[in-house]
Symmetry: none
Subunit: 401 residues, 2 copies
């Protein structure tokens, strides 16, 4: 995109709400061979669809299954193949770690080595989370002037963050992805000074960890994966002139929202309470990201009925959202999670855009994947959703004379 959207931005007090039902898209399954959206009773979403415009969105591109990072970046209008959130960073966001520009993050697995130093269990017998926390407390806090933060994720999983000057992400994994062989030595992927320095720090750290954990029965070493350096992203304020608030319960989504400069708002115990938070903070923000996790979770669990129920919970919250009198409402997901597949998928995501002042109504009167395929939005890359929402909120000026 060679067009710099920020040159077209104009501010006003119109409000945009992105209600994101994680993993909402699906494929047909269940007793009636319908998608969960087709099966669910959704009178309020259907009304929004009838009054609005619908379509199908590709978070990354057709055929590509997105992780949560790329999916949300697409939603927020960032080209997901340009702005990459590495695995280590996503794990750091997932434990709520407040990343700073230049931080280096990696995923750690606690593992069991035998006396010869070969890996016998890459997951250290899936130690309980409390044991993970107990062990983490014993590990180093700094090496060679770099701050070391180790944080428990769950069971055998943890996150490593290095904070220091001139760190590099050009490091290979130390996880050999096999048993019966030793962990790999930290190794730089290029010959740059920063890479040499980072390799040296990681080597010292691993050598200290090996000594400290020598007497542990299970978790006597760590394997590192997905070294990734955090580079600050341009914020939604810079790109779109928006003052954006995020209402999300799960750390990873709070993390991605904070990466694009949203303010993390308080959260309630369910979607209705989260919509009430938006109402309470209505005067302070002109963009709200409200995240609903459970359409994804039930999809990942392969629980068709539960996903249908969660969609009906989403539907029941729509009147409360409309009562706030937003100017633009978007309802969609960051990707599809068909309960039949128990995983994220590449299927394009049904989307509805509601904006009573400026919408061109299409013929769609139900919110589901099949109905959306015939909508006026057509099938688009997800990154365009944000600029369409901005246009309907009158926040973009004309391009060219």
């Amino acid at each position: 995109m060679s067009l710099d959207l920020s040159t077209l931005v104009q501010k006003n007090d119109k409000r945009i709400v992105f209600l994101i039902a994680d993993g909402i898209g699906s494929i047909q399954s269940g007793p009636n061979s319908l998608t969960e959206l087709q099966q669910a009773r959704t009178p309020n979403l259907d009304q929004l669809a009838a009054e609005g415009e619908c379509g199908l969105l590709d978070p990354v591109m057709p055929g590509i299954t997105p992780g949560s990072g790329p999916g949300h970046l697409g939603l927020f209008g960032y080209e997901p193949t340009e702005f990459i959130i590495g695995r280590g960073l996503l794990s750091a966001l997932g434990v709520g770690f407040p990343l700073k520009d230049g931080d280096l993050a990696a995923r750690l697995n606690f593992a069991t080595l035998d006396k010869q130093g070969n890996v016998v269990d890459r997951r250290a017998g899936r130690i309980p989370t409390e044991e993970n926390e107990r062990i983490i407390a014993k590990l180093p806090k700094a090496i060679d002037g770099a701050k070391i933060v180790l944080q428990t994720e769950a069971e055998h999983r943890a996150v490593l963050v290095l904070r220091g000057k001139g760190l590099s992400q050009s490091l290979a994994d130390t996880d050999p992805q096999a048993t019966g062989v030793p962990p790999l030595d930290p190794k730089g992927l290029d010959a740059k000074t920063g890479t040499k320095k980072t390799v040296a720090i990681v080597k010292k750290l691993l050598s200290q960890i090996r000594k400290i954990l020598a007497d542990e029965p299970k978790a006597n070493f760590v394997l590192a994966r997905g070294f990734a350096l955090h580079t600050e992203l341009p914020s939604m304020a810079e790109r779109y002139g928006l003052t954006a608030g995020a209402i999300a319960n799960y750390p990873m989504y709070r993390g991605v929202a904070s990466l694009v400069g949203m303010t993390l708002l308080e959260t309630g115990n369910n979607l209705l309470e989260n919509i009430a938070v938006a109402g309470k903070r209505w005067q302070e923000y002109d963009f709200f990201f409200i995240h609903f996790k459970y359409t994804d979770k039930t999809g990942e669990d392969g629980d068709y009925e539960a996903k249908v129920k969660r969609i009906e919970e989403l539907d029941a919250a729509i009147p409360a959202l409309r009562a706030l009198k937003p100017d633009v409402v978007v309802v969609t997901g960051d990707h599809s999670t068909p309960s039949k597949l128990k995983a994220h998928s590449w299927h394009p995501v049904p989307a509805l855009l509601w904006a009573p002042a400026t919408i061109r109504r299409d013929g769609v009167t139900e919110f589901n994947e099949v109905a959306c395929a015939a909508g006026g939005m057509g099938r688009l890359p997800m990154k365009y959703l944000m600029q369409m929402a901005l246009a309907h909120a009158d926040k973009l000026m004309k391009f060219g004379a």
Copy 2:
């Protein structure tokens, strides 16, 4: 676009007509909450739609409202974010100025300064056009070897064109966009030689204008905006092998057509007469651009009923167009201009492509925004329209073996 279309071009005597109803797209409004296209009685357009293929086109990209320049470049198959027509150039085209490679154009407003030299009226009391013409005649014709052309637009508006060697467009506006402050001095936006030279010329010009207009009661100075350098575009002949003729009444559209190398043909007093011109010149050209302004004008006026009538006028001209036996007909617009919004908008533009020998008919039997959303063309960037038309005219060879 990494594919060089010109390598695929083959010539033949098939004829393509682009009938462009400016600003034709819209959103629902009016007594029946329909778009103007839905409301209008359009049996001939509906027949073309039924025999052809329909879709929705984004002139620039989703959510972006195009000016007339980018909209028409999209129609002619030029990526509008790559080929930029600056504001000054569009104004020059609008007064019919024949731009040459290297010309520098800017918009001028006559303005009123007080005795301290502060702007009191940025529009000089909207002087009559005749007064603008009288004043323009007094102003310099050349400075430091650069030719100066000043041309009246209307009321307080005029166009400045500098023709000389090595001019630069890196100049800030001198219009302060406020009253009670002095006009801004000409200022370069970079330190290049061409910029310094251009700034010097503009400074001298403005200083002379200030002296010459000192005794004018209202228009005693000028404010300049949108300095833009004309760089020749690759022509439609080079890109597509087409011999293209433009039939457009308004200078701006004649200007954009001439930028892409079309020959400007004579015009009649209405659409039927313009189609008759195409008939008269039928043997000389294999591409005709016929521009119909009034769907945009009535939209900008917010006059729903008038836009409906203009669409019916467009419809009534279709039999005359068909009588010419064209091989490919495209009917669409350069952007949407909903009369509800009284302005250009970002809504994608309904398009129909008619080509009896090669079309794949879709299920669309009416030409309007909602019906087109379900068409076989889908939703596409507008720049692809030209190459689809070329394909249906058998003017493109196979890509790759």
